[in-house]
Symmetry: C2
Subunit: 198 residues, 2 copies
DNA sequence: GTCTATATACGGATAGAC
DNA sequence: GTCTATCCGTATATAGAC
């Protein structure tokens, strides 16, 4: 997982994996008949770790569903900073690296995106009528994912947070405007949304 | 260029290039001492072609500056459809494929993003006070680029336009809300923006 | 500048003893 | 299941005649 994240799939040789895992050729090939199977296993694990290793820590102490969306984005920001813009979104990188139309790989990449966007969608549904009815949660969740991937891509390329922060700020602005335009659940003007986190 | 777009940099062998160009090893290496230099040349050409081969055709017959932003996105949509989700944004793909910290390559990738976002920024500036003053054109342009790249990534992965169209629709919604919130430049309500294209 | 032939290393994958 | 040794193709790059 670490090697594919750091160097990508194609540039990681099986020899690299053997060295990093301190395993021998025969052992590795006993469990993974081809390098390809290694990729499938990695993508499966990414998917299964979205919940416990990404969402759970990101949302610890963040109750507000819309804040959770931005707490998730903050994880990627921190990852970029902490690794000197070396790590980004592992799934996104692999998605653009793999050009072969291998159906099994594509399915797993799609499943990763689906789970990520599905989690965001859950937040948006939970936000209920703080968002206008025409702001379809499914559409919005795919939009949030697009912004995250594009923001990470730019950050890694420029080795700078500017584009990332700018994108998140504009997304935040969009959500603010959506909330303002939503039908009011209260009789009195809503109190300013809590935004202390961060 | 075509090979890097179709197969990526790493998976394209020099032999592939030789075959496609109907050239011989000696000839190619006479002009490009290493494969690496081929990548640099391709990235330079992408940058120089953004204006004449991407923006100019995209904006033919589209005068409204904000419509131009969406006309640009439509080019990527059409590219995805026409190639069966094979081609996306060549720069974005290379940006995520290349993990080496090669400064020359990174600079050129960044320059490509910069020119693209710069063009969008020009549109937004031209839109003047149809957008609110707090909608910084620089921030907005980086946001638009992020949305495009993330939308293309999802489209290619799912081999479907759903996420792409959803993202563009949400971006459109954002711009509508921005325009609504801007201070009105005219005394009478502005006539509906031209949107005949497409 | 272009041609053919080739150097040299490394890629994924396998053989077969233990 | 794990070990060492190795097969064989393909990779980038070069040599040297023309």
């Amino acid at each position: 997982m670490r090697l594919f994240l750091e160097k990508g799939y194609g540039s990681t040789s099986v020899a690299d994996v053997l060295r990093a895992a301190r395993a021998n050729s025969g052992s590795l090939y006993h469990f993974f008949p081809a390098k390809h199977d290694l990729l499938l296993a990695v993508l499966e694990r990414y998917r299964s770790e979205i919940e416990p290793r990404l969402l759970a820590p990101a949302w610890r102490g963040v109750a507000d569903p819309i804040e959770r969306v931005f707490a998730l984005l903050r994880v990627y920001r921190r990852l970029l900073v902490e690794t000197g813009f070396f790590y980004g979104c592992p799934v996104g990188s692999l998605a653009l690296e793999i050009h072969e139309p291998d159906p099994a790989v594509r399915r797993l990449l799609a499943a990763n995106f689906e789970r990520w966007a599905g989690a965001v969608r859950g937040c948006l549904r939970e936000a209920g009528d703080r968002l206008p009815v025409d702001a379809d949660p499914r559409e919005l969740s795919l939009f949030v994912l697009a912004v995250m991937e594009g923001a990470v891509m730019q950050a890694r390329t420029h080795r700078s947070l500017e584009a990332f922060d700018a994108s998140v700020r504009r997304l935040r602005d969009y959500f603010r405007r959506l909330e303002k335009g939503a039908r009011r659940p209260r009789l009195r003007p809503a109190p300013a949304a809590k935004e202390k986190i961060r």
